[in-house]
Symmetry: C2
């Protein structure tokens, strides 16, 4: 009866309308299409529907008082407030009922599609809207007079109570459905995927629904356990990729698969087992159950992708580098030997090309070049650098065979980034004395306390970021010429640390770095060429390794194209972040699938100009004068030191000058 | 160019139109929407597109000669004709090209949606249109310049060549896809389910695609291997249900599951293993491979349904007899431990209610009461009789607790139908001398040669159909009164065979038969009552046992309602036939799912009138006079023999008259 209707207005949405007196705030919100969350469906258990009652005068709504126009909090709310800490002024919308005209504030965390804020200011927040949601529901008991299956009555109840039409149920959860209904005395919480399919049934009320963002690198495996309710990472675990014992780099693993009958299967089993172990660790850390995990998003390069899926990686080892499949995939997680909820599903982001994988797709999702006008260059530095260039008009992608130098392999004193590894290098332009920092020690090598601080780790070698800085600094100081040749006569080793072991840079090391950075630079220039730009507006260095590179040194070395250093950033694990986005936002999946389809795939191996760019890019450049920070480094007079002074710092190395192959 | 177009007309469809000169008949058929099959896509391999060129004058089409208006058969057709026997006058439409106006006959077996004729005239043919079809296709090799996954190129080719839009591929077959493409040198045959999903990829051309119709009875398991190309049964295998060792009847199996922790799982494993073994036998018999089987349709009663699916049958053992699920189910066959093609799928027909299973649904599909105006009563006789009554307006279903008497259990000399069992009984109304026939022997017991012929089996007992006839005949001859009481004084056994062992019918046996037939009759009358009919127009006795019952004796006994004997038929394994229909025709699945939803489920246990009907139905009736055949039997003067003469034929039995409980 309209006479007893009251006016209710919700902020910040501004939605308002009349509802019958004594309607609950949750019902009113649903009726008016307000984005207000609830899992328990009004039981006062989940606390997702918390709202604040507007105080004061809301003349714009025609409402002049709110605070007393609501029922007082009774048992259920008081119980929730006591057990789960309801902030003062907050009410559970499912229990508070409207007595008179009222204004209600829905705080951000009570919205279904709330934002998950990311740490880096330059990237967009994640709009929380996962493929999977929970719904608590009461189901009628079976009735002999109206025979109907448990599953069918559940589906009917979800339709009536939650408005979920045309649901189906995964046959794999029929058994848990029947037992949960009885264990929960005909109240259950249901996990629904895509708004269409029941994929989990738990007795009573629960708000535990988790997902996994899994990053399968050639070297490192990382598992992030994410709470689908708030998007937060509940636990992270990581381990070395156990496939390393079959081959250090990707191509040697492909060779192993091709030369051993069960080689591929062995590697598949090994990596799946380790990932499942990592899931076990994460689950233990977060104190949840494996069955609370319903979704997994997996990112990896194409060879890891094929091996994890149990597909033959052989064709990826030779031209034309054919993928068995490039599109996104959804499949039951137990097909991948992952022990999660019965009907848990794994989602693989699409691969871009034979050398540009789902990890690159995830990097696009995280860094959103396709949503910007400026031209972004994304670089995932690894044995194969994956490059993406473009903006909202056009995107190009390629991979560049940098080789393993940046990972510390094929460098005389090289090693992986680990405690004891030299990661930062500076050389005094006058004395040519080097100083450095090692991982696990805060002091530079020339600072007081270094000798003491380094004892726990020792100085064990030099990792990729250290090599880049060492060679860049050597060029800046004239120890090597722009063409990479040592200017120190026959003794070609530049010693960074004269201890045991001695850590030095050899001529061969410089050549390896030149090859690696030349390939990366040539790949970037090829894409810029094809895109038709001379300069990029923004560079993002991604990947575990990319994040440790100092952008200025990378530019000084000529590893990446010139760019305002302020607009060169490191994205950390962009692939992992992309996986998390695809986990938390269903639309992001369709978005990246569409974007990848329109990415232009460039194969450097058959692009004629790549070779030309590569030869040009071998030189260690005079950096451009455009950027003050770069100029500061560049202002150090190149080659001003005599060859003889440089020689003092060098010891005998390889006698023969190593030529570029 | 219209100038060079020629007129082509296809019969029997009557479709006609103009196509360019030198178009192949297959292309012309596709262009004109003619239903002409092809798997190999024009390679001259599958022979599915055979047509005949019309001869003579086709004035109605405006065509006056046909036979020479086609290219002569060249190498490919000659090769096919030689290797696979092409009938004279037949041409392969994919190779014969049109030179001038022509009339083409498409024989029934060349139509995609051809009919599979069934043996029984009263039931409809099966329209061949399975959920799965094969398509041969050439796929472009991978091209380094245009990177694309193997699966994506395959999907694209199927779109271009076969017009299959928006296909997806089951991730489980990605591995076989990549290897088949290479093994087949980029020609493969693809299995597509529902016209939407690739579920199998085989190298080169193959036309092998099979399905299974699986009938899981409490007692017997049967597997029918069906060629999806022509609908024919290629092999059948059957075995006893190994669950019998956990309990003879359904309820004792439910008890086993409830009283043993792993009881349900044990029975699930046992039945799945035996079904998989039966598949192995069928595959061997038909000389195909397990991977040639893409589909399985499974029918069974609700308890078998739950146990095969690994669902707890416990709730089905007590009121309200709740099913975990009643709708049709599709799930991967390997979830049921069936070793078939990688992405093979199992389809369960819907259950109707807690006691009326997918077998009853299959019976409806086979016997089509819902497509007729006359009122049909379908009876599947078993420990629980499943009853369906109705017509196109309305369908009712119920089950009736007949108990195991009709299966020979709880009968003193009862046994299962097996060689040596008495299956037919006649009693001379004057002499009261019985004669009978046993399974495995063609002669009646009073015919010459019987003594010799029976030696191989012996006379071991009496099976269900024999019991029905014995009791009916005993009533007709006055050995028992209409209320079932022996008329022979104290000696209550009626001896059929005085050998070793002696085969006799006891008073207790008669009581057991009365209870069983009373329950069945009461169920039928309850449904007739609710439907509002006094008489049914047609009765179908289904099930392995139902098929052995003589309808006239069943009516004389009062087991089924009166009906013109000419309209009482036995349907054999109607459930198995229904499964085969669901296997061969996709539409039949949606049809039966919709029909089952509108079936009114009647629970006899809570229907007040059931008890009344049951008490009434215990009497052995004077059959109605409506039907001559029945009258012939009924004309034998009831009770005309004296009790003393009957007594001669009887021996001492149970001393106390067994009362109905």
């Amino acid at each position: 009866m309209p006479a007893t209707d009251v006016l209710v207005a919700f902020s910040p949405s501004g939605r308002q309308g009349r509802v019958p007196h004594d309607t609950s705030l949750l019902e009113a919100a649903r009726k008016l299409g307000v984005d207000l969350d609830s899992v328990c469906g009004g039981r006062g258990l989940c606390g997702r529907c918390q709202v604040e009652i507007g105080e004061g005068d809301f003349a714009k709504f025609g409402i002049h008082s709110s605070i007393k126009h609501i029922t007082p909090d009774l048992a259920a709310e008081q119980k929730y407030a006591k057990q789960k800490d309801l902030k003062p002024g907050r009410r559970l919308a499912c229990h508070a009922r409207i007595l008179d005209d009222i204004v209600v504030d829905v705080p951000p965390e009570s919205q279904v599609h709330r934002q998950v804020i990311r740490k880096r200011a330059e990237v967009r927040s994640i709009n929380l809207d996962p493929v999977l949601r929970l719904y608590a529901v009461d189901v009628p008991k079976p009735d002999i007079a109206v025979p109907s299956g448990d599953a069918e009555r559940l589906i009917q109840s979800l339709d009536q109570i939650w408005g979920l039409h045309d649901l189906s149920i995964d046959p794999a959860v029929l058994s848990e459905c029947a037992s949960a209904l009885r264990a929960g005395n005909w109240t259950v919480t249901v996990a629904v995927r895509d708004g269409t399919r029941i994929v989990g049934v738990r007795p009573g009320f629960t708000d535990r629904a988790f997902g996994l963002a899994i990053d399968i690198g050639s070297t490192t495996l990382a598992v992030h356990l994410v709470n689908l309710a708030d998007g937060e990472v509940a636990a992270t675990s990581s381990a070395m990729n156990p496939q390393i014992r079959f081959g250090e780099d990707l191509m040697s693993r492909v060779s192993w698969a091709m030369s051993n009958e069960q080689g591929g299967a062995e590697m598949t089993t090994a990596v799946r087992q380790t990932v499942d172990d990592l899931i076990g660790q994460a689950v233990a850390d977060a104190d949840i159950l494996r069955e609370d995990i319903y979704e997994a998003v997996i990112v990896c390069n194409p060879i890891m992708h094929h091996l994890f899926l149990g597909l033959d990686p052989g064709p990826l080892g030779v031209a034309p580098f054919a993928l068995a499949v490039d599109g996104a995939l959804r499949l039951p997680a137990n097909h991948l030997d992952l022990d999660l909820a019965t009907a848990a599903e794994a989602y693989f982001l699409p691969c871009i090309a034979g050398h540009v994988g789902a990890d690159a797709a995830a990097m696009i999702l995280s860094e959103t070049p396709h949503e910007r006008d400026e031209v972004t260059l994304l670089v995932d530095v690894g044995t194969n650098a994956e490059l993406v260039l473009g903006n909202r008009q056009r995107l190009l992608a390629a991979s560049s065979p940098t080789g393993p130098a940046f990972e510390g392999a094929q460098i005389s004193c090289g090693q992986r980034a680990a405690p004891g590894a030299i990661e930062r290098v500076r050389i005094d332009p006058d004395s040519l004395a080097p100083r450095f920092r090692i991982i696990g020690c805060d002091q530079w090598s020339d600072e007081p306390g270094f000798q003491e601080a380094m004892k726990s780790t020792g100085i064990t070698g030099i990792c990729g970021s250290g090599i880049i800085e060492a060679v860049a600094q050597m060029a800046l100081c004239g120890i090597v010429s722009p063409d990479g040749a040592f200017q120190t006569g026959d003794d070609k080793n530049f010693v960074l640390w004269p201890g045991q072991p001695e850590i030095a840079i050899t001529q061969a090391d410089v050549r390896a770095v030149q090859l690696a950075k030349g390939a990366l630079y040539a790949g970037a220039k090829l894409l810029m060429d094809l895109f038709g730009v001379e300069k990029v507006d923004r560079i993002v260095l991604a990947g575990a390794f990319g994040s440790h590179i100092d952008p200025v040194h990378a530019m000084a070395l000529g590893m990446i194209p010139d760019c305002d250093p302020a607009l060169v950033s490191t994205a950390g694990n962009a692939a992992g972040t992309g996986a998390r986005i695809a986990l938390l936002n269903a639309t992001a999946r369709t978005e990246i699938e569409a974007v990848v389809k329109r990415v232009e795939k460039i194969e450097t191996a058959v692009a004629p100009s790549f070779q030309a760019w590569f030869v040009d890019a071998l030189a260690i450049p005079h950096a451009s004068d455009d950027y003050p920070e770069l100029r500061k480094i560049m202002s150090m007079p190149l080659l001003k030191k005599s060859a003889s002074r440089a020689k003092q710092r060098c010891r005998e190395g390889s006698k023969n000058r190593t030529e570029l192959q």
